[in-house]
């Protein structure tokens, strides 16, 4: 499927130039300057392998799936279902039927809130944390309001770690049916102690969902080692296309849960009176799916796997350490959060310079970062901030780009003070 593959790295060294050469967009200029793209946590850029796989699908092997009796449809169905195998391998899921394709992480979490939520009883609770993206907060508020489910919020420490003692206390009364927590914060960079979170949840009789939207990009994910019950991620942050995301859930749960959306492909038999549901995972995949995007996701997973998570994690850890050290030397700059384990995301504020002004002025220098509340308004309130600036790093980020960021921030601050 992948025609362009990453060089297989010697030891765990990553050849950044060889990687960058595979991302055509990185050659673009912004305001006549080379693009310095430090916003991969919002959405990552795409390698040729992904672009070509999608274009080739549309050029050479495209038809609707699961419906045609003709050659093109059968081949496309095979390729589409092949991606399910790839995703199962990527997450080390016990079986391919446990992989449900969704539009993105948001839809995957909404699916769980709707369909697993239907199995919860009034008086039961869902427990999330203070550092959740709106995607892992709003669906639970909707469930609370619709079904009389209590919503509990576990606090974080000032450093930006989950407060494990408080977390345990929230589980003590045995009412929590589901813990839904991020595996990596998109604001603080915190990588949460997922297996410990799962262990504590299970001991209290709760199931656990991890929002892996940020986490899957930075290290190898193993849902069995984590002992998770649900896991979600989104294709576009993993160097894949938009419009495709994944829910993994234990087979027994998926079998128990009622469908999310109704329509074609998710049924077994339909009469005007009633319908019966297809087997999992199809029960949760109503309508024609994002066929082309699914192929793109498959290419992204193959490509990332070829680069290897050892190399990716080492590269990003080095970049993050360098960024923390360089940013600390910028006058007036404060890094937000100091978690025990951090992925390639650094949020910061600057005395006397608003995050939006930082972002606009960096952009004039070709540097793309994110500024705002990062879809985590309650977390901002907890931190006592209205907004932060956030730089995030990916597989193609160079150390020199972080130096350009730090140097430009010094000048921006001079400009304002």
């Amino acid at each position: 499927m992948a025609t362009h593959t990453a060089k297989s790295p010697a030891a765990s060294q990553l050849d950044v130039q060889a990687i960058r050469a595979q991302f055509p967009i990185l050659a673009e200029k912004v305001h006549d300057r080379p693009l310095v793209f430090l916003d991969s946590a919002a959405s990552a850029q795409k390698p040729n392998a992904v672009i070509d796989s999608m274009a080739n699908t549309m050029r050479h092997q495209y038809a609707n799936i699961h419906r045609g009796l003709h050659w093109m449809s059968e081949r496309t169905t095979e390729a589409y279902e092949g991606v399910r195998d790839l995703v199962a391998g990527f997450l080390n899921a016990p079986s391919r039927e446990e992989i449900v394709f969704t539009r993105n992480s948001t839809e995957a979490i909404n699916l769980v809130a709707h369909s697993f939520g239907a199995l919860l009883r009034p008086g039961q609770a869902v427990l999330i944390s203070q550092m959740e993206h709106h995607a892992n907060l709003v669906p639970w508020q909707m469930l609370r309001d619709r079904a009389g489910i209590e919503l509990r919020i576990a606090p974080i420490t000032d450093d930006g770690d989950l407060d494990m003692e408080a977390y345990k206390a929230f589980l003590a009364d045995g009412k929590v049916g589901l813990v839904a927590i991020t595996h990596m914060s998109n604001v603080l960079g915190t990588i949460t102690p997922a297996s410990q979170i799962a262990e504590v949840a299970h001991a209290a009789g709760a199931l656990v969902l991890f929002d892996g939207s940020q986490a899957v990009v930075h290290h190898k994910t193993d849902v069995q080692a984590l002992d998770a019950d649900f896991y979600t991620f989104t294709g576009h942050k993993l160097y894949g296309p938009t419009g495709i995301g994944v829910l993994w859930a234990r087979r027994a749960l998926l079998e128990q849960m009622p469908p999310f959306l109704g329509g074609g492909d998710m049924i077994s038999t339909v009469t005007f009176e009633r319908s019966t549901w297809a087997n999992i995972p199809h029960k949760f995949e109503a309508g024609t799916p994002a066929i082309v995007e699914t192929m793109g996701l498959g290419a992204a997973i193959e490509w990332v796997s070829q680069v290897g998570f050892d190399a990716i994690a080492a590269h990003e850890a080095a970049l993050t350490a360098h960024a923390l050290q360089r940013l600390a030397t910028v006058p007036g700059l404060k890094i937000v959060g100091n978690p025990r384990m951090r992925g390639g995301v650094v949020s910061f504020t600057m005395e006397d310079v608003h995050p939006h002004d930082i972002a606009t002025l960096l952009d004039r220098n070709g540097i793309a970062i994110r500024a705002g509340h990062h879809c985590a308004e309650p977390l901002m309130r907890r931190l006592g901030l209205s907004a932060t600036a956030r730089a995030s790093f990916g597989i193609y980020t160079q150390k020199e780009e972080i130096d350009v960021l730090a140097d430009t921030l010094v000048r921006i601050r001079d400009f304002f003070v």
């Binding site: 305001h31 300057r33 006397d352 310079v353 608003h354 995050p355 939006h356 002004d357 606009t360 002025l361 960096l362 004039r364 220098n365 500024a371 705002g372 509340h373 901002m380 209205s386 907004a387 350009v404 140097d407 430009t408 000048r411 921006i412 400009f415 304002f416 003070v417």
Partner: protein, 153 residues
Amino acid sequence: MNSSTAERDALYDRLIVERARKPLHAGRLDAPDVQGEGRNPLCGDKTHLDIALNGHHIQDIRHQTRGCAICSAAADLMAERLRGETVTQALQVADRFKALLVEPSSSAVVEKSHQVPLGALEVFAPLRSHKARIRCAELPWVALEEAFSHVDG
């Protein structure tokens, strides 16, 4: 990198930076006749306006702003421009300012209220090409409209 666009960026006129840093019309009034507030939920920016009226005239106007440089300076330069104007004139300036922030050709308002001078508020013209930031400069005017929503010009 030798030269930086940041320092000579047209958007951040020196006046904007200065007013953001040291506003001349910030604060609250003891006995405002009308008040207004503008909030941008996307970034948490906030402007509060206190206005003292003498008949139809704006006798005094103060703002309290928590926001970016664009928003803070817009509030300060707005207060400066509107002091002494009538409510009707102030709303004309508001129209004219909004027109300034969109493409000049696409607005009939420009023609109609062309006689109303914007003065120092002209420094915000480059915002036209920074669509994402237009709301920052508009926020104080949202507060103004709220303040005047109960006053007949």
